[in-house]
Amino acid sequence: MSQAVKEKSIYADAFREFSGRRAGEPVWVSRLRGDAFESFEAAGFPTTDDEDWKYTNVAPLARRAFVPASAAAEKLESAAVETFVSAEARRSRLVFVGGVYNHELSSLEAIPGGVAVEELGAALAGEHAEVVREHLGKLSGERGDAFSALNTAFAGGGALIHVPKEVEVAAPVQLLFLTAPGEGGSASFPRVLVVAERHSRLDLIETYAAAGGDGAEYLTDAVVEVFVGEGARVTHYKVQDDGDAAYHVASTRADVARDGAYELTTVTLGAQLSRHGIEVLLGSEGASCRVDGLYLVGTGQHADTHSLIDHRVPRCTSRQNYKGILDGRSRAVFNGRVFVREGAHQTDAEQSNKNLLLSPEARVDTKPQLEIFNDDVKCSHGATVGQLEEEELFYLLSRGLHPDLARNLLTYGFAEEIVEGIKFESIRAQLDSAILNRLRARLEV
């Protein structure tokens, strides 16, 4: 009881102050925020009694009074930012520092006319206000948890991406959320809304990173909503490389229209505690999604993925392939639900989660769940937890590879299936070096 009261006071004052600063926002936004904050206050942070949070204890972050980031964000030199920019998105990026949009560090030169890539606040005041109003919170509100509600209440830095019908955006759009050194104790609430109208195409790279000074404890609470229009295709990469001591809680929710395709690949490298909730609604015939991911954690890290792929109507396809590499004293949770509703005939769904434990102290809880409510379907799922194969290791050793290199190479091989599916070289390179550096490897690729 005392805990709940304490939580209330932590964010209640901050919310009052925040609302004051946002007095100029449209009424519907203030109302959305107010309602969200109320539902957050009512629910409070989840505890491990909550089935969905059984293996992930957020008490340490719930206890801390993180301060929602304000405009007075730390300055970052552009050179410090460049290293986090995907080469392919040099001229199509929005950069946020400590949860606040930074115009100088951003570049939109490669965005074609008619396509909106805007800071969310600006979008609310501009010509796309209606698009935002029509979509914002439509996916996160309904089933949103306390973290989503808290995000809606405080959503500060964020973006609207609107691609009109039949437009292909050639360059990937990168949303780069950086935390500057000295931002320990702060919370940021990135909020992203993607609306891809029918037959449009978009590649999105969503990146979280700590720029310098890895040790700061901060909270990232992100919500991303993606609307994939009829026959449209959105390819979405999320790279979470927050600082070692950071907390990262995020949800990604997508709604895919008829014959649309949503392809999400997540890469989880950072944060001491991370939780990613994914929800994809396949609500019109012919819709499809691919949801792939790789989590790579070491001592002191806990990474949780909860996903739900909801086949609501006939003839939709989903593919999910998640792989985890756990080293040292680390922990991962994978909970993947595939829901095939009563009328969803000829559903084609595959799900797999494979884990590689590199240390006896690493632990993973994996639970793939297929829930099928009709029998005209093609579904498969499976999960494995294993170690490096002794015979493979011996084979590499027998060719003269040092044991460290041999282990790293096998680990690399395990991840390769996910890495090779990544379209952008910059992300592949980042992953290669993350895999190999973390494992102290000497393999140049």
Binding site: S398, G400, H402
Partner: protein
């Protein structure tokens, strides 16, 4: 040398000397311990040497880890080559090659330099270039796997190569090509031990010595004509003799 696996004695007193420039063939019935011997030389952790030693250029090989042995020049072509998913064949061979170069204090080759070298060595076994970019042995046919083993031998240029049934699974043309490759790799400075079931291989790669391994012992050694005799008479002849001997001793 005596050795056990999972507490079971498999090798019961192997005595074998292989000199530089020599080719030895080891034959023997299934389960007699041929692969066990080969894997022990390569340092497989499942096998325990309970008695005896293995000297390689004057050093006790058994004191070296498997990767050290390889860098010193010991090579095993596996009877069942292992698939390594997600690791490209070319990348794997470059890493192995560079480990060896570093060991000798030589500069490593970068991927481009190595590509040329690999293309050159691939000719030795007429290996399809498409197999280089695929994962090591993954989805390779039986014959392709065996060819890939000899390609690795060509890249690593070992001092002692043990080829465990490299001929099994090769078609008639492939057998000729791969044998030709092995012959090209032969020098007065290296030695080759062939484990095989078929005298046919020995028409292509002519051994200096042929040994018969039976129940963990070398029960007979001879020249290449021994292989011909085995082909003709099978192993019963030797089994009978050995059995007879043992009975005699026991009596």
């Amino acid at each position: 040398m005596h050795a056990t696996v999972e507490g079971k004695e498999i090798l019961r007193g192997i005595d074998l000397t292989v000199n530089k420039g020599e080719i030895h063939a080891i034959m023997g019935p299934n389960g007699s311990g041929k692969s066990t011997l080969a894997k022990i030389l390569a340092g497989h952790p499942a096998y325990v040497v309970t008695k005896g030693e293995v000297l390689f250029e004057g050093r006790n090989l058994l004191e070296l880890a498997p990767d050290e042995r390889a860098r010193e020049g010991v090579f095993l072509a596996f009877q069942y080559p292992v698939e390594v998913p997600g690791v490209s064949n070319a990348q794997f061979m470059r890493l192995a090659y560079n480990e060896k170069r570093k060991h000798r204090g030589e500069e490593e080759l970068d991927p481009l330099e190595f590509k040329d070298l690999l293309a050159e060595r691939a000719k030795v076994v007429e290996m399809d270039a498409g197999l280089m970019s695929r994962s090591v042995n993954e989805g390779f046919s039986g014959g392709e796997k065996k060819r890939n083993e000899i390609l690795q031998m060509a890249v690593l240029e070992p001092k002692l190569a043990v080829l465990d049934e490299t001929d099994s699974g090769l078609d008639i043309d492939a057998l000729r090509i791969v044998s030709g490759g092995v012959n090209k790799l032969r020098t007065p400075e290296n030695a080759i031990v062939l484990v095989t079931h078929y005298q046919r291989l020995l028409n292509y790669i002519v051994p200096d010595h042929v040994h018969v391994l039976y129940k963990g012992r070398i029960v007979r050694s001879g020249g290449k004509e021994l292989a011909l005799a085995l082909e003709e008479k099978g192993y019963d002849w030797i089994k009978g003799e050995v059995g007879g001997q043992q009975t005699a001793i026991g009596a």
